[in-house]
């Protein structure tokens, strides 16, 4: 005898079936003892180390450089076992034998030559060419020896080869697939192999068991993109992320109060935030206007209140960890009266109207932009502020499509040298520079080619003084590095902002 199923039951069954068919939000693998999940505010736009528009945090794990930097920030052998300057313009590197790329291709001198030349190729418009512009060519002496030849003497060659864009890529694989494909499916020699990249979500890598430096302990790493501050903190608190970068300033105390979590803070470990100025666009082409802007901003109060002290006001774009730092240069003091006077002197008694762009990508970026817009308005600089999405903004800046006043963060991070901190943003005709000053250019180039450290240091002092006079950008403050960690993660944060997972242990 057939019995009709009660309607109520049918409804429940249909509901359960429907729910089970709904794809659950792409959840990352449950944190096992050998999996590390890192949540960051920066998005991944591409994983080609020669063409990065973002920090090299992820690619540092997939690729190697000839020279590495250890936990004490000393340069040590990487893919090169030794190096020396054989003449003032040639550095010779002896390459490590028996290293293969993740796809089995051999690492040799040809790979080094290919890697460097594709970045130097003007037709490719690499946004990171500034870092190695001193190199004119790479000569293959034999399969395990290369000569890096520079146009002028360059004492920094080993340092330049310790960071992107000189992370070594496999020539055959890149040529066969093309650059665009390589950026989505990278292959390197590093401790971690690329597994997958779910765009706008996460990058997954797994341990390379045959890594020349020893197999990493942590097997899987998920690099998640979580731009929303609260979501990132929540991920840490719920155990969905083991490490987050950065911790939003409002949440530092809350996280530190939790017994399972901690905050690793590195003073001066972050980027130096500034407002770039398009110095060729009137009225910014008048130095008096630029100085007025500098006087109008109260950086000390902004650092104290909005950033809650998790930053340090800076006078120049060179940080204290960098070679070439000059502590004698001081900031323009907050002086709105002087600012207004300068504007009047420059022919703008009624102020000026100008566009400005800020970004949420840096600590409290939107709030800082608004606060500064208000302070500028108070001296007559009526700003039209826009805060575009970071992924859009990051593409505008290197091709000069941004507003005349634009927020950016820069640093030497992985180089720990003034050259990387200021050359790309002060020298004319660099992708990220909106400055064109022949005196600065001359000094910057001379400093690049000066071998004697004392003389080099003096030159960087001169450059910073000149920049201070000229105000090519509005230097604000250097962020602290703020890492939020689960206490099961044994790792000490680095001043060079790298996260080499091979050094991390899970308790």
């Amino acid at each position: 005898m057939s019995r009709r199923v009660p309607l109520g039951v049918v409804r429940w069954v249909v509901m359960l079936a429907a729910i089970s068919l709904v794809p659950l939000q792409a959840s990352v693998a449950a944190p096992a003892k050998d999996t590390l999940t890192i949540a960051r505010v920066t998005a991944t736009l591409g994983l080609d180390p020669g063409f990065l528009r973002e920090p090299g945090t992820i690619v540092d794990n997939i690729f190697d450089t000839l020279v590495a930097r250890d936990q004490h920030m000393k340069l040590v052998p990487g893919l090169a076992t030794s190096w020396k300057a054989v003449n003032p313009t040639t550095w010779q590197f002896a390459l490590r034998r028996g290293v293969t790329f993740h796809n089995g291709d051999p690492f040799d001198a040809e790979a080094v030559k290919f890697t460097v030349e594709r970045v130097l190729d003007p037709a490719k418009h690499s946004p990171t060419i500034s870092y190695i512009r001193t190199v004119s060519r790479v000569d293959v002496v034999n399969p395990y020896t290369v000569n890096i030849v520079t146009a002028e003497p360059d004492p920094l060659v080993p340092t330049r080869f310790s960071r992107y864009p000189t992370e070594i890529v496999p020539p055959k694989y890149v040529k066969e697939g093309g650059d665009a494909a390589f950026a989505s499916r990278p292959v390197g020699t590093g401790p971690y192999k690329f597994v997958r990249w779910v765009k706008d979500n996460y990058v997954e890598v797994e341990a390379n068991p045959t890594y020349w430096g020893g197999a990493p302990k942590i097997q899987h790493v998920f690099w998640r993109w979580v731009p929303d501050d609260i979501a990132r903190v929540a991920a840490l608190q719920r155990g969905e992320a083991d490490l987050i970068e950065p911790v939003p300033v409002a949440w530092v105390t809350t996280i530190e109060r939790s017994p399972r979590l901690r905050v690793d803070r590195v003073k001066h470990g972050g980027l130096i935030i500034y407002f770039g100025l398009k110095t060729d666009v009137p009225p910014l082409n008048d130095v008096r206007v630029r100085r007025a802007l500098a006087y109008a901003i109260d950086v000390n109060t902004i650092v104290k209140t909005i950033l809650r002290g998790f930053a340090s006001p800076m006078a120049t774009q060179v940080g204290p960890f960098d070679f070439g730092y000059d502590p004698r240069i001081s900031r323009y003091p907050y002086n709105p009266t002087r600012a207004r006077a300068l504007l009047t002197e420059a022919g703008h008694p009624n102020g000026i109207e100008i566009e400005m762009q800020g970004t949420r990508r840096y600590l409290m970026g939107a709030e800082v932009s608004q606060a500064i817009a208000q302070e500028l308005a108070a001296v007559g600089v009526r700003v039209k502020l826009e805060i575009p999405e970071w992924t859009v903004y990051a593409q505008l800046v290197p091709v000069k499509k941004q507003a005349p006043i634009y927020m950016l963060g820069w640093g030497s991070t992985q180089t720990l040298d003034a050259d990387a901190a200021i050359y790309p943003i002060l020298h004319s005709n660099e992708p990220y520079s909106t400055v064109s000053d022949s005196k600065l250019d001359r000094l910057l180039d001379e400093a690049r080619h000066t071998v004697d450290p004392q003389a080099r240091g003096r030159l960087y002092g001169q450059i910073q003084e000149l920049a201070h006079e000229d105000v090519p950008m509005l230097t604000l403050y250097q962020e602290d590095s703020l890492y939020g960690l689960n206490n099961s993660v044994a790792w000490k944060a680095r001043p060079d902002a790298r996260i080499p997972v091979i050094d991390i242990r899970l308790r």
Binding site: D229, I230, V233, P248, A250, W251, T253, T254, D298, T301, I302, K304, T305, I306, M364, A366, E367, S369, Q370, A371, A373, Q374, L385, E386, I387, P388, E389, V392
Partner: protein, 264 residues
Amino acid sequence: MEGIIGATVLGVLLITAVGAGMLGSTPYQQDLGAALLPPGAGHLFGTDSLGRDLWSRVLVGLRVSVTVAVMAAAISVALGVTLGMVSGFYGGTLEAVIMRLADIQLAVPFVLLTLLIVAVLGANIRNLIAVMGVTGWVTYARVSRGQTLVIRHREYVDAARASGATDRHIIGRHVLPNIGGPLLVVLTLDLSRLVLLEGAMSFLGFGVQPPTPSLGSLLSEGLRSLALAWWPVTFPGVTLAIFVFGVNLFGDWLSDRLNFRANV
């Protein structure tokens, strides 16, 4: 009863919002030294992370949110009523085409469309109003069409036609005034939807740009300081909730009064 409550709530909110400028408010005046002060003397709702008075910002935010909603509604009404009346009056292929357009419109996800338009034209109030206005016409079209279908067969319409009235005259003088009642009900209820929609879009960063406040953008700003202060999120949120509640009460009352069921 509910009508009186609804009307009172709305009335009070709207008057304070409109009169915000005269109450000596300072929604843009920042004072970094007075950031995140709790509600108290001098600041009824406290201050936000830049030291701006939250009371002023909530009032101006309410005004902005309501303005956006009203302007979007105006566009939707103009578009929807025209298309609805025309399709109801003439029928045939024209009606079929317009009704299919309505179906297509309803099928397009609003957020996706907004993202597209904002990516191309830029995120600002004007573009948001345009998108909200242009995509919200369907409800009004259906109501108008329904009423038009009923009215066009009435005796006075036949009489007018017999005495040589043009179509335009008939639509304008006989159909349109009769749509008014039901339209008002639908409009009132739609307003709450629009205010919430504007809130969501500004919350995501696609509408009002800083430093202009709107209830949605105030919510998103307030959320960023949630670890340190409860008031930057709570007051805008409660205001939004009360406003929507008031609008719905008023709309329900109106609907009962006019004996109209907004069955669209």
